[in-house]
Amino acid sequence: MFRRILVLLDDGLVGRRIVPWVRRLLAPVGGDVHLLVVLAPGRTVIAGSRTLSYANQSEDAARGAASLELAGVAARLRDDGFAVSSEVRFGDPGAVALDTAQAWGAEAIALVDVPARGARRWLTRNVADDIIQKSTIPVLVGRTSGQRSA
């Protein structure tokens, strides 16, 4: 059974729904958990002729906020006896998650399927679909609502 699971989270509370399932799945064997948050690349904010913040500054701020959130999740998993690492990256969530899974040597990927709404449904690719289609390792997928809690 897999012991190294990459958990793909978002910058809110939704993605965390999968964490208790990962904890239950790994409970008998223990294991390594890698928490990954993939954010949209930062953009330079310009007002008139003034640059209010550069892309790297936006990314640093977003990375700091996400790291703070991850620290809480990681601490609770460590309390349960898992080895936990965490990382915040920027880019396309599907591609970054697959790259990270390969580099880290993940044996499974866990994520919550967040369905897009409105026009985004047609304009953007679903992250979960993308990962399931391209992943060579098992993918554990939960839903945002309408599903039993762990």
Partner: protein, 291 residues
């Protein structure tokens, strides 16, 4: 749990005479937060997003048009805040704070050490702590799994039953849905339901009801499918594995079987990104492990 481990920084401190619209904008970036309201250096109350909404214009457009903009824009924080806030020491327990909030009908408490405001605790924070506690109370191991196998190999002809299932087992030696599910089942000491959904099978036959003379062939196919599924399970796992063959739509069959067995995890194989897997994920009552 002590409240000092649960509290968070307030969304900010505002003066009671400040504009409510400006305070509401500050709260908009932190929907679960609250503002601590001071009046002349003294703690006067707290303002949550719900308080700000209740004092602001109606959220129903046809009613809001009848409200005078000049009236709502003139509101101050003092008009909307909760006066006489719940103040708790940092060593108070979460149960004490929850009890105080419930008794007085407030949504946020101020954590203060003598006169210094240290943070706030909202009902959202207390709910978060409750969720964590409930999750820790659930048994750590999984007890019921469902594995749907050979979804793409639903036998359309009599002789394809064995072949299709055996080939599916051989070509995916490491990460077949069944291998993964059996491994999880062994480690968790769980019960496994091995499911196969046959599209061409009569629902009445699958349910064991008499369905006429033509049903004899279908009954034979059903028995063959059950026997083939049973052969897939190693001898040592047969006591913890149940075979289930259903008729009709694959996704409906998987969802019905998951509901009937109370499955906590569905394991599915099949082509990567197959429509069946995607549809099951969108409607499943529990997480799906796509192998």
């Amino acid at each position: 749990m002590r409240i000092k481990t649960l509290m968070r920084c307030s969304s900010g401190i505002v003066e009671a005479r400040e504009s409510l619209a400006a305070a509401a904008m500050r709260l908009a970036s932190d929907p679960g937060g609250c503002l601590v309201v001071m009046d002349g250096g003294r703690l006067a109350g707290v303002l949550t997003p719900a308080d700000a909404r209740a004092a602001g214009p109606s959220t129903v457009p046809c009613l809001a048009v009848h409200e005078l903009p000049a009236f709502t824009s003139g509101l101050t924080v003092a008009d909307a805040m909760r006066r006489d806030p719940v103040i708790v020491p940092p060593d108070a327990t979460s149960a004490d704070v929850a009890h105080a909030l419930r008794t007085r009908g407030h949504r946020a408490a101020v954590v203060a050490d003598r006169v210094e405001v240290m943070g706030v605790v909202t009902t959202t924070d207390l709910l978060g702590a409750l969720v964590e506690r409930l999750e820790q109370e659930t048994p750590p191991r999984l007890s019921r799994l469902l594995v749907a196998v050979s979804l793409a190999a639903s036998p359309g002809r009599r002789r394809s039953v064995h072949t299709a299932l055996d080939v599916a087992l051989d070509i995916t030696s490491v990460h077949t849905a069944l291998d993964v599910a059996l491994d999880i089942t062994r480690r968790h000491g769980a019960m496994l339901t091995l499911l196969h959904v046959m599209r061409g099978l009569s629902r009445r036959v699958a349910e064991g009801l008499p369905a006429g003379v033509e049903a004899d062939v279908q009954r034979w196919r059903l028995a063959e499918a059950r026997a083939a599924l049973a052969r897939l399970v190693p001898r040592e796992d047969r006591s913890t594995t149940r075979v289930d063959v259903r008729a009709g739509d694959v996704v409906e069959g998987v969802l019905n079987s998951a509901a009937t067995t109370g499955a906590e995890l569905i394991v599915m194989g099949g082509r990567p990104g197959a429509a069946v897997v995607r549809e099951t994920i969108r409607r499943a009552p529990c997480p799906v492990l796509a192998t």
